[in-house]
């Protein structure tokens, strides 16, 4: 779950983001506390807090004093939009680069994707 | 609560060590002596009977001096107690125990005299040489003797804690040289006769005074040694 490739707080932030996108954490739903995250992932509570604070700064979560942390309305849509942007550079760019190296044309690529997603 | 008192309470967590075992040793020694005296009288033995059985718990205090340091000092470090506090608590506890036992000896001595040596004319607590003195000297005599033995063990153990084996070896070599030196001095000057006649002039009060001074010196020495000892 947690690996060594990048700081843990970033990984925690991403894990929560994924849950928001997939709907596991719905809009206006309460998210577990920093300490619950820390205990669950067996990480330092300060690190968990750092990850969550990042999402608060990004406006994806908001705090209700004395109650806890909640998913902001519209957070899933915003995240999806962000991820779509990243999708282009993260997946499409290397895909087309590799395809052109192998002499696969755009049409052929589209056809391959179609058969791929059908199966 | 004061941490010095807490140290005493820690040493008392196992009640046997400071209170139970000395009483058991004393009790056993007393009963054993009684049994022997009874056998002697039954077989027609007469005259005064003496027993050194009362000193039995005192030798245990030598071991207790070693034990209360070697076993408990490293643990007291883990309990975040300063060496000074550990020292004060331990020595104070022993002093209180020794004083209580000394008073007990004195009272038992009175009882012994009153019952004509437990009805058998024996001397266990009230040895003539001691019992002839006033109550204060009697109690102090026992007290100083107990503290002295405890301190010998305590000092030796402290030296071990501070300087480990090297310290122990040096300590015992010094002690050995000192004792041998005195014996050699007496022997070479042919003064054993004078020595014994001098020894016979010792009084309980004198022994108490000099013993007390030596015990105090050892207490000071072990304190200074302990201040930089490591667990």
């Amino acid at each position: 779950m947690i690996d060594d490739s990048k700081p843990i707080f970033m990984q925690i932030a991403e894990l929560i983001e994924n849950d928001i996108i997939s709907g596991v954490l719905a809009e206006e739903a309460q998210v577990p506390s920093t300490n619950e995250f820390a205990a669950f992932y067996r990480i330092n509570p300060a690190t968990a807090a750092k990850g969550i604070n990042r999402l608060v700064e990004d406006g994806l979560l908001y705090k209700k004093r004395g109650i806890g942390m909640f998913v902001t309305e519209g957070a899933p849509q915003r995240l999806r939009a962000q991820r779509r942007e990243k999708f282009q550079q993260q997946f499409i760019a290397p895909l087309t680069a590799e395809a052109s190296k192998l002499g696969i044309g755009v049409d052929e690529l589209v056809a391959m994707i179609k058969t791929g997603s059908e199966s | 609560m004061n941490r010095v008192i807490k140290v005493a309470r820690m040493q008392l967590i196992n009640k046997g060590t400071f209170i139970g075992i000395p009483l058991i040793i004393l009790g056993a020694s007393f009963l054993f002596t009684m049994a022997i005296w009874w056998l002697v009288r039954r077989n027609g033995g007469d005259g005064a009977m003496y027993s050194g059985g009362a000193q039995a718990p005192m030798w245990y205090f030598l071991a207790l001096g070693i034990q209360s340091l070697t076993l408990t000092f490293p643990f007291s470090m883990a309990m975040s107690i300063s060496r000074r506090t550990f020292y004060l608590g331990t020595v104070a506890l022993f002093s209180v125990c020794a004083l209580a036992l000394s008073v007990f000896y004195y009272l038992m001595g009175l009882l012994e005299v009153a019952t004509d040596g437990w009805g058998m004319g024996g001397q266990f607590f009230a040895l003539q040489w001691i019992a002839d003195n006033n109550w204060l000297v009697q109690i102090l005599f026992y007290f100083v003797l107990m503290v002295l033995l405890f301190m010998i063990g305590f000092l030796a153990a402290t030296i071990y804690m501070r300087w480990r084996t090297t310290g122990m070896v040096a300590f015992f070599i010094c002690l050995g040289v000192l004792v041998l030196g005195i014996i050699a001095l007496i022997t070479l000057t042919n003064s054993w006769g004078e020595f014994w006649s001098w020894a016979l002039t010792w009084t309980a009060a004198g022994v108490t005074l000099w013993g007390g001074i030596v015990a105090l010196l050892m207490a000071g020495g072990s304190y200074l040694t302990l201040r930089k000892a490591t667990a």
């Binding site: 060594d4 990048k6 820390a38 | 300063s82 490591t230 667990a231």
Partner: protein, 305 residues
């Protein structure tokens, strides 16, 4: 109000006969954090902790706990808990008597927590400590350390002899309890992978010297291992600092100290090189050994020629 530093040392040195146990150690530890004190056996971890807790003293330099030298200072000592890995207990003590004693001296002692942990570790409290197994002995130390809730708690290789389940209990309870009662915790360990995620800050000591003193998160991702054709690996890493180098024929696997950006990762992929993350444990081992290892590798290369 500025926060007082929990632990501060300045140029701390300690020599045992001819071994330099601590060599010019200068550190500042902030309160309410979990620190990892990492290093090989004999690197100086226990000596450092002993001096910080007044159980030992330095030849040179100063150590302060909340602004005061701990040596023989009861008010400072009473805020510290340090159970040694080789802790001695009175010979006749039973397990519960050690806890009774700890309850006397540690003002924040939590008896309920101690009881919970006794059950979690299945510790026989009426057994003599002398008769415990190595793991049970470690559990006694862990329980005293946890239940003392001291402002600064040192755990000295607390897992020795504990099985995987018991170790996990320890780590879980530590995170839980720390979250509820924040305090300064120094976890000394040479099993780094197990504790890596719990640490906020990492101090690595080797041969008595501090070789890493850094935020754990900053360390993560600061090194990467590049594997592939030796020539290409060399071309890729350029002048980056090499922490470790392994060679197998034409194949090379080199750990470098570098934070790679997306472009560099892309480039590595195009060159047919594999990139793998470096765990904290590897990083520590490599950092501690980088001098000697680099030398040995060179010698090996020389010998092959």
């Amino acid at each position: 109000m500025p926060r007082t530093t929990a632990i501060a040392t300045r140029e701390l040195s300690k020599t045992y006969k001819d071994v330099k146990a601590l060599d010019n150690v200068t550190l500042d530890l902030e309160p309410d954090r979990i620190y990892g004190l990492l290093g090989r056996n004999g690197a100086g971890k226990t000596t450092l902790m002993s001096i910080l807790t007044g159980q030992n003293y330095a030849d040179h330099g100063t150590a302060e706990i909340f602004g005061h030298a701990p040596f023989e200072h009861d008010p400072t000592l009473s805020r510290i808990c340090f159970i040694r890995e080789s802790q001695k207990y009175p010979d006749d003590f039973k397990v519960h008597q050690a806890f009774e004693s700890a309850a006397l001296f540690f003002e924040n002692w939590d008896e309920d927590l101690a009881q919970e942990l006794v059950e979690a570790f299945a510790l026989p409290i009426n057994r003599r400590i002398k008769k415990l197994s190595r793991g049970q002995l470690s559990a006694v130390g862990v329980i005293i350390g946890m239940a003392s809730r001291a402002d600064i708690t040192f755990f000295d290789e607390p897992y020795l002899g504990l099985d995987a389940v018991a170790r996990q209990i320890f780590y879980d309870r530590l995170v839980e309890d720390f979250a509820e009662y924040p305090r300064t915790i120094v976890l000394s360990s040479h099993l780094i992978d197990e504790v890596a995620n719990l640490l906020e800050h990492v101090i690595v000591i080797d041969k008595g010297q501090i070789v890493i003193d850094s935020d754990a998160e900053e360390l993560r991702g600061t090194a990467v291992t590049v594997t592939g054709d030796a020539a290409k690996v060399q071309e890729f890493i350029g002048a980056a600092q090499v922490l470790h180098r392994d060679a197998l024929g034409a194949l090379a696997s080199v750990t470098i100290k570098a934070k790679l950006d997306a472009d560099q990762r892309e480039q590595a992929k195009l060159m047919g090189l594999d990139l793998s993350p470096v765990s904290l444990q590897q990083l520590v081992v490599r950092s501690a050994l980088s001098g000697t290892t680099a030398q040995r590798t060179e010698e090996r290369t020389e010998a092959r020629k």
